[in-house]
């Protein structure tokens, strides 16, 4: 009996189609739940994470095995992010007309992010490594990991913190903006992209093409500005 269970578990664990099925299935379940019950908890990303984590726990599959088996999806990340250039191209006239607003959003977002991280780090007596790790929470993982490494932060926490910030932006960002009557589609996209990178941008794309285009642009600009200012922010006294 035990050997049969072990055999079945190995069969699931080392099968690419199983990993892809629970990932896609969890996401689709999240979409249909959100359609039926429009509440915060039924965010497709959150539901898919819950479905995957539960499946891995029940079947005793470790994360590394799941990651290896779901590689076809991870490989799609670069080409799919590159395609953000398409809505950006379609909205280019708006971008050209609103360069000052774009700069205002990116600069204010990066500065406020650094100030909040510094204040919380000071209040809670965070160690230097944790402080610099949180500095990169709003930028895309590919840039964030490099910055954290260079400043002497904690790389595994960096990935988790960046993912969690993205999930918060994806699930709550547009709701908070609407609550505060920040209704301009360009401003919405910029706010989401500046604070919650690619994961937030997937929500911005659902809101509309303008939100998606400006959010995609904000990912790149916020990442590049953070690379430039993070070394100075890291020197602030804790």
């Amino acid at each position: 009996m035990t050997s049969t269970l072990t055999y079945l578990r190995d069969l699931f664990a080392h099968n690419m189609f199983f990993s892809l099925s629970i990932t896609l299935g969890g996401y689709l379940l999240g979409i249909s739940l959100r359609r039926r019950f429009p509440i915060l908890l039924f965010n497709p990303l959150l539901v898919s994470l819950l479905v995957i984590i539960l499946s891995l726990k029940v079947l005793e599959i470790d994360y590394t095995t799941y990651k290896e088996q779901s590689y076809p999806l991870s490989y799609l990340l670069t080409p799919s992010t590159i395609c953000l250039a398409i809505p950006l191209y379609r909205q280019f006239e708006l971008v050209k007309k609103n360069l000052r607003a774009i700069m205002a959003a990116v600069v204010s977002g990066v500065v406020v992010n650094i100030l909040i991280v510094w204040l919380v780090a000071r209040c809670f007596h965070l160690e230097y490594a944790d402080y610099v790790t949180f500095l990169t929470k709003s930028i895309t993982t590919a840039i964030g990991v490099g910055v954290t490494e260079e400043l002497g932060g904690n790389v595994p926490i960096t990935c988790a913190v960046i993912a969690l910030s993205g999930i918060v932006g994806n699930a709550l960002g547009d709701k908070v903006l609407r609550l505060l009557r920040l209704s301009d589609p360009m401003a919405q996209g910029l706010g989401i992209g500046v604070a919650s990178h690619g994961i937030g941008t997937t929500r911005a794309l659902e809101l509309g093409e303008t939100q998606g285009a400006f959010s995609g642009l904000a990912i790149a600009l916020t990442g590049l500005l953070t690379v430039l200012v993070a070394p100075f922010a890291a020197q602030l006294p804790l």
Partner: protein
Amino acid sequence: MRFLRQFCYILAISFVAELLRMTIPAPVPASVYGMAILFTALKAGAIQLDEIETPGAILLAFMPLALVPAAVGLVDAWDEIKRVAFPGLILILGGTLATTVVASASAQFVIRRDKEREK
């Protein structure tokens, strides 16, 4: 055939973007180089918008799914995160939403002021 050619454009741009990431000593991800290349190609007319729209729409639909496997990595980092749980919660929840609001409010302020000036 047409669809395959369209898809090939994006894969080729991804490849060039990866090459740039490996050769340029800057912490810029391949996707940012790729976005710049595709945008420039569209602006220069080297690639027509209708040639790339279908695979683009498909890949953009896959974007959230492509981010899921990395996000599941939270499970492995959980013990480390617990160490800074309370300040982490304030930063991730409060900090992210505050940054979203400030960035968005700054943009909306400038957009509205510029529109009023135009009038």
